[in-house]
Symmetry: D2
Subunit: 352 residues, 4 copies
């Protein structure tokens, strides 16, 4: 059964493996007349590239986006847009020892269980490299929404390695390599990462995503509620283990009178709902948080088995990030843009 397609009207299908010939995406359903060229996509992809922070891998991929179809003289034409990024620096020799060994916390063992075959080079299809395609598609979704609406999505780090941002100064998130809205916390994060890197271990954290300027009325009840789709979209990112909207898990400890957002002629007094009521946007900021697990690839010794189920010890020596944050942030943004673009187009169809 296929699972590589996302969206109903703005529909994307991704393809590619970590160490194959490349990764890419076909976008089917992009409206015509959206200004688009490779620089628009590149700008978004560059934010996903390694290298900026202490948390990053040393793998150098130029990640050059190529638009292969669907754009004519700088404009989308309404036909499928294929965007491709070739794999350049794919050194799979480092992975050879793991062809027959399952890396703990990775999909090796489950891909083998499901398909009875897997491209073991760098995790193959289960590698985070697949998210290159999501970000490329997200850039197109963003271009649509920027042309047609005031929607702006920002993902930022509110916790990394247990260190929590105490502020939400979104203005400073581009001033530190962790996209953290609290510069003091960013410094602590830097130190925490360095310590953990020396041990050969890794870290997780929490990313918050804010979507501002979303008009009321987006989202398709019942099963395609806006929050349901955000949850699916974000949980489909490999490292994400939890998603919450607005007050989220904290709401479970509030009473109704505390949690309900009072309505006034000027708008909602509070935003515990996170901008979504009954699966439909209410015009307020949409606020989502995702729990990001620590990167499973660590150089410390771990217990595992080989494909014949013999016990073994493994130490994953490839080039890996210490934390999926901050590179995951633009992936989160992309997924939120993809959902919003899809719902925005869907809402037009309804307007009889």
């Amino acid at each position: 059964m296929s699972g590589n397609t996302f969206g109903k009207l703005f529909k994307i299908t991704t393809w590619g493996e970590s160490h194959g010939k490349g990764v890419g995406v076909v976008i089917d359903g992009c409206p015509p007349h959206i200004p688009l060229d490779e620089s628009v996509i590149q700008a978004m992809l560059d934010r996903r590239r390694p290298g900026g922070s202490a948390a990053s891998t040393s793998r150098k991929e130029p990640d050059r986006a190529m638009i292969m179809s669907g754009v004519f003289e700088g404009m989308t034409t309404g036909t499928p847009i294929m965007i491709m990024v070739k794999n350049k620096d794919a050194d799979s020799s480092a992975y050879k020892p793991y062809a027959d060994l399952y890396r703990p916390g990775h999909g090796d063992i489950t891909y083998q269980a499901k398909y009875n075959i897997r491209d073991w080079r760098g995790g193959g299809r289960s590698s985070a490299r697949e998210t290159v395609a999501r970000v490329a598609a997200g850039a197109v979704a963003k271009a649509i929404l920027e042309k047609e609406t005031k929607i702006q999505v920002t993902a930022y780090t509110i916790e990394l390695g247990g260190i929590r941002a105490k502020k939400r100064e979104l203005a400073v998130i581009d001033q530190n390599p962790y996209y953290c809205p609290d510069l003091e916390a960013a410094l602590e994060i830097e130190n925490r990462i360095k310590t953990v890197r020396e041990k050969g271990d890794s870290l997780g954290g929490i990313v918050e995503i804010a979507a501002k300027g979303v008009p009321a009325g987006l989202g398709d009840p019942v099963f395609d509620k806006l929050d349901a789709d955000f949850a699916r979209a974000l949980m489909s990112i490999g490292a994400v283990k939890g998603v919450e909207i607005g007050a989220g898990f904290k709401a479970s400890r509030l009473t109704g009178s505390e949690n309900n957002d009072p309505i006034t002629p000027e708008g909602f007094e509070t935003n515990n709902s996170g901008g979504i009521l009954a699966g439909i946007s209410n015009g307020d900021d949409i606020i989502i948080r995702v729990a990001v697990k620590p990167i499973p690839s660590i150089t410390m010794d771990q217990k595992t088995v080989d494909i014949a189920n013999n016990p073994a010890t493994i130490s994953t020596r490839g080039r890996h990030d210490i934390s999926a944050i901050p590179r995951i942030n633009v992936v989160c943004e992309s997924m939120v843009y993809l959902v919003l673009a899809d719902r925005f187009l869907g809402q037009k169809a309804l307007s009889c």
Copy 2:
């Protein structure tokens, strides 16, 4: 744009409003030869009915399931199964005052924004009554899985009104009206609910869902990962504001060496993954938790506006639960069964 369909192979579409003629579901894609009659569905629906606990509404709905098609001589035939529950005790007069008033925390204001019309009687389509249809479909999904696998899904309350279960004694969850695996916590919950009911306020909590006996290999990477689909399925329940898998948000504070589940020839040593790696089941128990917000309908006075955006005060006097828990538990179970049945059928198609 339509959003009332769930599933790819075992596909359900629900219909109906709280105070219309009824609610129901069409199941398209149920395999033939599954033993099914109305009692199978009724057993599951009865667990959703009000009345069992202090938390429940006094609305009395017999909720009698009628199978209208797709079953012949006690067996599914492979054709669409329509299951319908008529609305009987639908007293919409209690809602008349709210025809022009938006209830805080409800979908009234967003349905109006989206459609510019709404059936205001009892929340119309946004009412939790819609989940009757999900549970009916869930009973069919469960029947398939019970015939073909050892899968067993159980939802239980691990927190209500801030009171947390300290044990996981699943054997006792049917011995208390809150489906709580800790009888002492259940007593505290009972007291907490009574206090809050007197104030006219409401409560939220946390439900945990365990799926045992799930074979390794279910789930469709990339966007239809098993955890992504659980997240969507559960977040599509009106009261749910957060979903986490395995260690969930706690995983964001662990290091890789703490979070990775060591693999041994006998299986995984720990289950931080919650039974899912890279979106595919790993054979271990699947563990999911959902945050349930307090019921927004409370009798305390609240600030709101009317449909002309004039300020107003509202007190929701209908017949309402104090907490969506425990009636929501069987809805959660149903959604998990629906996802698993769909993926189970999908996995068969792959086996070339």
Copy 3:
């Protein structure tokens, strides 16, 4: 695998068997604010009812449409519309002899091959009674298009039992029971039917469908071309064995210079294309023809086998039409309305 859903944005799912409790449809994706009540649907259903012509069965079904959801105070609300018609006059005793016998030309043998079980009463799910649900949905599609566009779809009989209409006087199709645009041909048809009825045999024919007022620009290349969707929609009607657009099979014998429709500032000079170029409507009338096979149920003796594959003789004695025409005509209209409504909504989503 499910196959009972049709449409992408205006999505319908039908359910029900010939001699079960009823047949119906859930419409998911109908825009709000479309005036709708049961009389709108009934008017369309009444055109499908038996009784009008010499070709019809004596089965008397009032076919009373009940709207169960999605309409509030005479208007659609944007939520799923369930329309149901209960089976009343379902005398399945007449079918009992055929429980173990396959009727030639029917789906008995293939349903058994596919599902290894079937509801044999009156053909079960494979009965033409299923088209009641299509017509009910078609009435809603028509209501949308009548509110929003000038589209008008008409199906008429251009051939029955080998007798071909020599004229296209659409004004007279309601003046004869065969919806034939040539009254002289209609008389000949009447005589032909009477002769064949006496022999216990049955007849086929050709229905032409004209859709006028379709704006240019509807249809989704590549696989969801407008003509491709009409072909699927119409071929999915049990009795249809062929579909052609515009000049159709005749076009295969023309040269390019004969077949190309010259374009002038006033429009196309001819309409060999049938109003569709490259899968997109061109603003001209859409012209489709379908080949309808003779009803397979005949009282003449036929060779068959029983479910144990023993040879047998069968004579189908139920109450049957002599020809699917003219009752099939409104089904054809409905399918064309369904496709057009879907594409009309889709086109709105594109208009950035």
Copy 4:
């Protein structure tokens, strides 16, 4: 709205324009363990290439298939397969005069109406070059069916330019460039084509497709009937204007006793049904015929308008085939393979 995806379980999405960077397809849902390399695809693509017959264009495209993902060590892995063919010999200068002129019989005018923009180079997305992607995907579908079943699909020319094959000697279809099962007819066709080519005109014809070895039970009632899907699949090919199954339009002139295929313990005595009853395969040969219109690009002068709706004269001087037959034959085969592979996988999911 998107329309570039085909299939439910074996799902393909095509991309690319005639004179853009290339054309390609992503296949999502291919089972693992299917032997596949580029030569398998190339063999099928080579049958689509121009050059073999008098009817062909002089455009020389090596049409070299590149598998970009989803295959590892010669086997499919269950992950998306992207296959790409770069455009090499794309001389768009020949099309420049037509940037502002609509070619009669082409999609220029409708693409402009739909999208208000179009890649006019060689027809852009509406070019038959898009079928390269279908054939590549068809080769993969064929590989699945050859591994798992005895299904074999063959398309052959039974009429071209009005000259009809009088025999069905399938053994000789590879001995003449028109894939005609009647060598005498093939000679007549050759002469007819030469005459018409001199006049600068073009021809159409009829292709018959036979699928042998199809097991009984494939096809998903009600809307995804096997014949409905073939009709959609084949009508989605640009040049096709009609589709019929089995006796097809001829069935409309038969009586029930003539048209019904008698059933015997050894099988059906005749095959008027074309191997499909009630949308499900019956185990007999599946027989489909499609009407192919003459190529609209002709060098004779034709009336048209420019994009400002001024009258104009056009003569399409590019490099074009005289007839879409025989190059379309392998496209028809591919579409039939795609439908059958999809239904074959779907049938597995049902087998509880």
